[in-house]
């Protein structure tokens, strides 16, 4: 018991302090929930009902059918009709529409005569996501029409090659399902890191650290006693976030709940250990805050939360490999969305566990029981 000497005393005090500090409790429980709900709704990049401008010079049955097929995809909705190319472009520049469809006067004539009928689809390329979606939908709609016509003309009843896609996971292809696990990873990180990041440095500022150092408390006892109360709080928060994921965003958990719980707890422990490490290095709370921010920002960009890690330049990929959020997000996605089993997800969990053990040990072993 010598190794953890003073643990129960610190635990006793930290629990009381934590429960008597409504500000920390509030900031640990409420903003994460709000952040999660806000992020979850905002990060929906399923493109639907994009504004489409129509410049129909043909005014024929065929031209109207073509516009209807664009609208029937639900990707587009007609937001205006114009009478010149200049107007068409101006509407897009104004941001009223993402795309414009120009149907030339000879559209139906060419079609009926068996010539190639050309239509022009002008797309706002400034937003690559919507542009890609518009391009794909436009191409698919016209391609399908063309194939149907070709089949009629050739007398064949089937097309030469047919793809039958099967969505294995997230069959509805809802983007919240993909983002929500990532949001959980990031939100947890923001809220938990701060709590322990302040833990030691606050005592240093108040002068109580000196009092602790004079006592025979061991460094492991001190660190563990500081960490556990926030671990309980962090776990409660994680449970809340998973509940929101399940109930508010209706994301089903495909894999084992136990595996998910273990992964999230290991992640919380890692984050709290990093917070402690910050706290033992920082000289004041301001510094601790800045150090924490410096850790949080890279996670947003490099953890694979938004951009796939594999397409990153090597330097960012390297950064991503040392971020706990990378592994946590990977684990949550694997278990929640893909229903991965332990045999499939264990490498990420092993790396995360190693990180937790290494950071905590480093933090305790290197903590100087001296001042100055």
């Amino acid at each position: 018991m010598k190794l953890f000497r003073g643990f129960s005393a610190i635990l006793y005090k930290e629990f009381i302090s934590m429960l008597r500090d409504p500000t920390t409790l509030f900031f640990m429980l409420i903003p994460p929930m709000i952040q999660m709900i806000a992020f979850g709704f905002a990060l929906d990049n399923d493109v639907k009902n994009m504004g489409l401008i129509v410049y129909d010079q043909a005014h024929t049955v065929e031209s109207r059918q073509l516009v209807d097929r664009f609208v029937n995809t639900e990707t587009f909705k007609v937001v205006g009709r114009v009478n010149s190319v200049a107007e068409m472009e101006s509407e897009i520049r104004k941001g009223h529409a993402y795309a414009a469809l120009e149907i030339p006067p000879d559209f139906s004539r060419n079609l009926r005569a068996g010539r190639s009928a050309t239509v022009q689809l002008a797309i706002d390329g400034s937003n690559s996501t919507t542009a890609l979606q518009a391009l794909n939908t436009g191409a698919a709609v016209t391609m399908r029409d063309s194939i149907a016509q070709l089949l009629r003309e050739s007398g064949r009843s089937n097309i030469p090659i047919e793809v039958r896609p099967q969505m294995l996971f997230n069959p509805a292809m809802k983007s919240p399902n993909f983002f929500i696990p990532g949001v959980i990873g990031l939100v947890l990180q923001m809220a938990t890191l701060f709590t322990t990041a302040m833990a030691i440095v606050r005592e240093r500022e108040r002068g109580t650290l000196e009092q602790l150092l004079v006592s025979p408390v061991s460094r492991w006892g001190l660190m563990m006693g500081k960490l556990i109360p926030y671990f309980c709080l962090g776990s409660a928060m994680a449970a809340l976030l998973l509940l929101i994921m399940r109930l508010v965003f209706n994301v089903p958990i495909a894999g084992s709940l136990f595996g998910l719980a273990v992964s999230v707890l290991v992640y919380v422990f890692t984050l709290l250990s990093i917070g402690l490490l910050v706290s033992t290095r920082a000289e004041n709370q301001m510094q601790a805050l800045q150090m924490t921010m410096a850790l949080i920002l890279p996670s947003v960009f490099f953890s694979g939360f938004i951009f796939p890690r594999e397409t990153m330049p090597w330097i960012f990929y390297a950064i991503s490999t040392v971020l706990p959020a990378t592994y946590a997000i990977e684990l949550i996605r694997a278990i929640v969305l893909r229903g991965a089993t332990f045999a499939e997800y264990w490498p990420s969990l092993a790396i995360l566990s190693l990180m937790a053990a290494a950071v905590f040990s480093f933090c305790a072993a290197r903590f100087k029981r001296k001042i100055g």
């Binding site: 000497r5 003073g6 129960s8 005393a9 610190i10 006793y12 005090k13 009381i16 302090s17 008597r20 500090d21 108040r206 002068g207 109580t208 000196e210 009092q211 602790l212 150092l213 004079v214 006592s215 025979p216 408390v217 029981r369 001296k370 001042i371 100055g372």
Partner: protein, 316 residues
């Protein structure tokens, strides 16, 4: 004589180029109340921190109860108590919780904890405030609580860093009564202070100035030092009307080497060649009559002033 409780030998602490504590050596006997004096920034707190094992000395050795403060820190910590300058308490904890926390920290279990808790309550009269948050205590009670916390584990040596800074005179008096009681029970006390009257109460005093310990000993013996009482001089107390005017009159006269006002009187260090009648004469020239002269012995303040001057100090 018993083995000293605290032994310092050439204790030194350097922060970069700055020497905060320079070759300090002294001993403190068991049960003594050792008063450690010196101006702000002279190195008092640094010495205490080294003795408590939370600051590594740059040189020299220190032992408490025979335990080396560097090599045997962990064992040593069991037997020392420390009350820092700011009465560092956990503000969000109640009085009772603060005491329990420190008890647990030193490994006290249920029975022992309860017993010690009760003892300290009796001693410090903190019962009425048990459920009060430490943040809401006044200075005097904070100080009592901080002391009780430092005493939960019954240390053999208690270090108090300016325990009476910023508290009212009644609380100050009561604190000293407690300190005498602890001392009577055999506890060794190491107290830093700015107050000369507190220094007078100590069984031993040390005076640190510009990082160096310039004097250390029993107050009454220090007052006999030749540096304090240069041969051929005497100290006298002069009570008269218009003391300030009197001081101006006497200050620069030949044969009067120190003159300080003490309330309604002034203290002079006078050459034996200058007779009492001559002083009365000087004052009469300035129109001051009803002069009462009597010989006095030096105070500790006189001792420190004399020794500071000798070490090239003083603010003038």
């Amino acid at each position: 004589m018993a083995e000293p409780m605290i032994e310092c030998e050439g204790l030194t602490k350097r922060f970069g180029d700055f020497t905060a504590v320079d070759n300090v050596s002294f001993n403190v006997e068991p049960g003594a109340i050792f008063g450690f004096l010196g101006p702000n920034g002279s190195g008092k707190s640094t010495v205490i921190r080294m003795l408590c094992g939370i600051l590594e000395p740059s040189g020299g050795t220190a032992r408490i109860g025979g335990l080396d403060v560097v090599e045997q820190t962990d064992v040593l910590k069991e037997s020392i108590g420390y009350m820092s300058q700011k009465f560092s308490l956990y503000d969000e904890l109640t009085v009772e919780e603060n005491l329990r926390f420190y008890g647990k920290l030193y490994g006290l279990r249920r029975e022992a904890l309860r017993k010690r808790f009760d003892e300290l309550l009796t001693l410090t009269h903190l019962e009425p405030y048990l459920d009060r948050r430490a943040a809401l205590l006044s200075g005097g009670w904070r100080q009592r609580l901080a002391m009780a916390c430092a005493l939960m584990h019954e240390p053999r040596v208690l270090f108090l860093d300016e325990p009476t800074a910023g508290i009212d005179p009644v609380a100050r008096r009561e604190l000293w009564d407690l300190l005498f009681e602890f001392s009577g029970r055999g506890m060794t006390l190491f107290v830093t202070t700015h107050y000369m009257d507190e220094a007078e109460r100590c069984s031993n005093v040390g005076y640190i100035y510009l990082s160096k310990l310039i004097v250390c000993g029993v107050p009454d013996e220090l007052k006999m030092l030749p540096e304090v009482n240069p041969p051929g001089t005497r100290r006298i107390d002069v009570t008269c009307e218009h003391v300030t005017l009197g001081l101006q009159t006497l200050r620069h006269r030949a044969g009067i080497s120190a003159a300080t006002v003490f309330g309604q009187s002034m203290h002079l260090l006078v050459d034996d060649a200058v007779s009492d009648e001559r002083i009365r004469g000087y004052l009469a020239e300035a129109g001051i009559r009803d002069v009462d002269l009597r010989p006095i012995s030096p105070s500790l303040e006189d001792v420190f002033v004399a020794l500071t001057a000798k070490h090239g100090g003083g603010t003038e």
